[in-house]
Subunit: 264 residues, 4 copies
Amino acid sequence: MFKFEDHKCYQMPAHFGGWDYNPTGTIYRDTVQISYAYATDGNRLADYLPEGFELLRPELLIAYVQSREVEWLGGAAYNLIEVSVPARFQGRQDRVEGQFALVVWENKTAPILGGREECGIPKIFADIQDLHKIQQNYFTNASYEGNTFLRLEMHEAQPVDAPKLADIKAQPVERVLFGWRYISKVGGPGAELSQPILYPQSTEINNAWIGKGTVQWTQLKPEQSPQQWHIIKALAELPMNELTPAMMVQGVSTLKSMQARVLR
Amino acid sequence: MFKFEDHKCYQMPAHFGGWDYNPTGTIYRDTVQISYAYATDGNRLADYLPEGFELLRPELLIAYVQSREVEWLGGAAYNLIEVSVPARFQGRQDRVEGQFALVVWENKTAPILGGREECGIPKIFADIQDLHKIQQNYFTNASYEGNTFLRLEMHEAQPVDAPKLADIKAQPVERVLFGWRYISKVGGPGAELSQPILYPQSTEINNAWIGKGTVQWTQLKPEQSPQQWHIIKALAELPMNELTPAMMVQGVSTLKSMQARVLR
Amino acid sequence: MFKFEDHKCYQMPAHFGGWDYNPTGTIYRDTVQISYAYATDGNRLADYLPEGFELLRPELLIAYVQSREVEWLGGAAYNLIEVSVPARFQGRQDRVEGQFALVVWENKTAPILGGREECGIPKIFADIQDLHKIQQNYFTNASYEGNTFLRLEMHEAQPVDAPKLADIKAQPVERVLFGWRYISKVGGPGAELSQPILYPQSTEINNAWIGKGTVQWTQLKPEQSPQQWHIIKALAELPMNELTPAMMVQGVSTLKSMQARVLR
Amino acid sequence: MFKFEDHKCYQMPAHFGGWDYNPTGTIYRDTVQISYAYATDGNRLADYLPEGFELLRPELLIAYVQSREVEWLGGAAYNLIEVSVPARFQGRQDRVEGQFALVVWENKTAPILGGREECGIPKIFADIQDLHKIQQNYFTNASYEGNTFLRLEMHEAQPVDAPKLADIKAQPVERVLFGWRYISKVGGPGAELSQPILYPQSTEINNAWIGKGTVQWTQLKPEQSPQQWHIIKALAELPMNELTPAMMVQGVSTLKSMQARVLR
């Protein structure tokens, strides 16, 4: 008979064995991230924030991350696009500022499963291209079964100047990502688990570039992506005001899922 | 602010809205299933059964299912390979016979997420080929990032004779699939949820064939599939005795996830 | 030393051996084809017809073909989208009517190579979805590295009436497909081979449906598909007048590449 | 009417227009190459060399190349595995040493088409993984429709010492790659074109590493890859003696297809 051990960590299928708890973060040795931000309608954004969270600024944040040499995946690579808003959690005990993840698309299933089940990060699948690069111009897109829904570009990327880079490199960028773990009751409506979650991450930056960004949403019909069209529609309908310059950084990231915790 | 409604169903990301509870099953209009079974070492098999389950026979069951025209996926298709054992659940209240899912590989993320989170079916990702067909011979394989780990063949498929087909078609095949939903504590070892689950499914069969089956496992090194190599190793090391003839059926399946329940 | 044998057929790499000439056609046992046609600007269309060909009607033909159980590919499947115009070849010797292939997208490389090198069919690669089916509605799309450029739909497909089906089934549909084999000089401009080609094909139809078709082109920027954007642009800019009803047929096709010949 | 212009270059479909002849090579800005070599049976190898070529050494060369930021592909990436032998061409006019390409697998169709049609390089399709990297160990594999046929590893890669690197960087590595362009007669056995071809390439190396290489072939059954199994079999059956250390280089490559020429 298979027996669970309380001090071990498991993922389904659990019955082939678990692993020892290890609080060390998961290291991503080669990540390239391009960040976009734009002002938008704060009232609409607030509609997507669950109880306990409030909007810090009426701003939508989009980060494309291309991760390679990921050791926990056998040295493989994957890409993600994270859409979040700056938010504060104000609970009975906790008061924390960070970024609330509205949705994260990833092009590999394994990190989707861990992120959802262990940390409540709303990861779903999309095909996401590796960065295409022509001179200092970068291109990527996200699609679902051949249907493009997001195109991200960065033009004329220039290295940030030396003093600024020195500043950026001086210390790791610590980040609080907020998720909401929702696990339904078996066989019925309602929640078995419904929890706000804090997931700490940090990045040591080695290089940084700044350039002109473009973000282009394309809505899909329900039959093109039954599980995602309403998410894409919600995001595509947000006004896109004052798109800030795109920032690209290359560095080493540490995901501290074992230091994640339920907010109270 | 986004508010959860108790009578609604949600999946992460929940904050873009849920849907009304609907007890009707999910219909798969065009499924082709090839089933393999072989006698093996019952003691080893029993090691993978969690508390409450006992082995009915020392037998490993492998089902390849090619599903098309799946409405909840916008009419798309996907393939799965389910490995299970015949088992009985014997709890304080429930005593049920069915098949305990050791692992289910699927080549699409959306059904993996629902199956895991809502029903505790241990679904993980693999590339799984559509059936290749040459005359009455069928071939498929499963691989992870280019590494083949399972090859399934069916040779000289012959339609079952008319009386047997009539029998098979006379009524839907009702099946109990057992899963175990395990959701870890956030940030640490141990379980937040750890539940045996009953997931009912039924299939109306339109056609059936019988033929010679072959099952070939290939073990992978940990770096070829860090999350799966130990599962493949456990299954590949089981002795393969008395492989029964392969059975192929074509029909309409109904997955009754809304009638799934926690076993007690 | 490897020696070529004159009576054998080869494909690169030739030095691992060729195969015996066999005039029998290649059989595709399970093909589903959806055909679209629309009136357009004949002058523009004529610009794409090389010497010897003339336009029969100012009409663009688009055929989506989903082929399964393809024996020469080991029983595998692939999809194609063929764009052609009704044309007559008028040479010194030959006068033939058929369809001139403007471009053919396929989602598998092996048939692309044979079609191009042996028959001058202008096949290029795209991701092409299997048909998605919801009730009697069919959907597919073509994309290049995540960039959608063509969406084809067929709505409310209805079986053709029995007399019409009987007519259709009465005899194979024989079709002449025209290509133009162009092989450049090594290392420089100009042609080593530049030949109009006739490629005969036939289809035995088992079933046929008629419905409402839609064709939607999306232009790409050069950097999204450097080898194809100008083709997509040329086709997308053609006016789409009087789209005829979409016709879907299911049947067995025979590609007679060994009966292909250079037109004179 | 579409008219070919003699001074232009075309690829099928030609009728959408050609491009101006440009003798400049095609630049690949970011290539990582891992090279393997092993002594083998010279008699068997010689069986694969067409008339005019002779073996320089009984050695099989395997190069894995991961190319990124490829401008002619819109900044996209692709991978290839080239299998070649050191050879001399001895014709009536030409006497040249280089590497004769036995087969080249690539995971993108566009470069396959150009390489075959314009330079006679025997490129065919396979799925080829990006390098997986764990510490100083690199892994990749090639598969066809889920069937692994080649696994390449490099362990404990160490930078070459400074003087050696200085040597390597001192000048571009000029390489002669030999192909054989074979284009069949339309509709029948025998050749329309059958030509030995010299294709010059050069690489400026920025970094180099040396390590322990492993090469593992897995034969496929004909139905697993009808167009390739005999090639894989021929290569897998060659004895693998004295595998040299694997060499990895990172640099900028220039493919000079416009300086390719037919050997005489």
